[in-house]
Symmetry: C2
Amino acid sequence: MLSFRYTVPMNAPRPARVKTARERARAELTAEILAAARRQLRESGAGDLSLRSVARELGMASSAVYRYFASRDELLTALIVQAYTEIGEAAEHADRPGNAPGERWLAVWRAVRDWSVANRHEYALIFGTPIPGYIAPHITIEVAGRMPLTLARIAADARRAGALAPPPGPVCPPEAITPEMLVLLEGDEFTPDETARLILAWNRLVGIIGYELHGHLANVTADDALFFDHTARTEGAHLGLAFD
Amino acid sequence: MLSFRYTVPMNAPRPARVKTARERARAELTAEILAAARRQLRESGAGDLSLRSVARELGMASSAVYRYFASRDELLTALIVQAYTEIGEAAEHADRPGNAPGERWLAVWRAVRDWSVANRHEYALIFGTPIPGYIAPHITIEVAGRMPLTLARIAADARRAGALAPPPGPVCPPEAITPEMLVLLEGDEFTPDETARLILAWNRLVGIIGYELHGHLANVTADDALFFDHTARTEGAHLGLAFD
DNA sequence: CCGAAACGAGAGCACCGCTCTTGCATTACT
DNA sequence: AGTAATGCAAGAGCGGTGCTCTCGTTTCGG
């Protein structure tokens, strides 16, 4: 399942000539299919995305699309990778390492929210209900880390500057956290409790946006942007960052 | 849309006789259809649930099902109401008003998690990605409140007992919260900031369970139950409850 | 230059939600 | 009690889906 069976193998022997005409055409068509799928995802959501309709939009037979994506799931996987990449880049580009940790934190949170409200179906694709029977390929788990790692870097910088002062509260038992999670950033080791606070912050960022996008805050919050900023500050303060 | 068009109107004039044979048969078959749909939801998720397959399971023509549920959306709505009711009852039944607030809080959180892991597809149905094109009918918004209201009651009781002491942190601006949210429980008025903390706790409960169920904690937490308990305590402490 | 590989199109299979018609059983009304 | 209205189950059918297979064509590499 999810075999990418028609795609070029990673370790195929490369010919002397860089690209044959066929390879160029293939790469172009693959990109066009992905673009059409993204277009349909944007306006109708993942549920309404069909291989046949993107084939129609591109004026080709539906069976021809299977030369480029072995299944609908594979097409969705490509869109998932795209979404993870974009939200990761949004976070990274919003971060200004020179600024104060609190400012950086708020800027990154806002950037992630902005991307999410502008790409709600893409957000749902990566943070909503998993597609039934769908198992995330290995490719996704790497790119999925870019956004939370941006948050971790801010905390690490604050920590190195002696500006990370988590307020008192229940202490997370170390055995609750995976060992490899404790070496999240090379050279900046967090305590298990700090790591737990980071995980919770990441979970909060995704969760509060989901609540907003999925309508759970409909009659609850009067000003979503204001409440989001408050949430960002609350979570940042819980991690030990200073604001204002 | 979602008109329940074949169902008996609420305010129809009731005949002298309580139930005709036809009405009994109708009620029974409706329940059977719902049960079959729930069965299929349990094992395959909402995406794979089809009216035709429940019809097959019940040995009837697919068109006959439409006499009882006007559409697939309507069948899903019934399942959503069922799920909201069950998670609300799980929370309510786990609450022991005589116990200390911290104990009550933890018990309710655990009950909600237990129900969710035992009914992951039902959880996804109410807290996951909304069905495309689907708008929650009015019926759902009332029953959806039972679970969060259980949390609010614990906070209200603690507050009345003078045992609600929220730790310092960013204060939520009052205009971020809807006015009707501030009179959440009659007679127990929370401050806007307390209300915000309650909203965040509710969001956390749903969000952390979603992370666990959807695999986002896969290589992150080593002991999900332990981390969940820590999360419950953290969120309870942030609300101002005392633990241990 | 020629065989192998890649490709596009079409037909086809099994499924889906939903509608409409038809014939029968039950109910309600006179 | 007879009749008209209603409820109901079944079947055919429409347009859609993912996916497979075949077949003729094009392109590439040895």
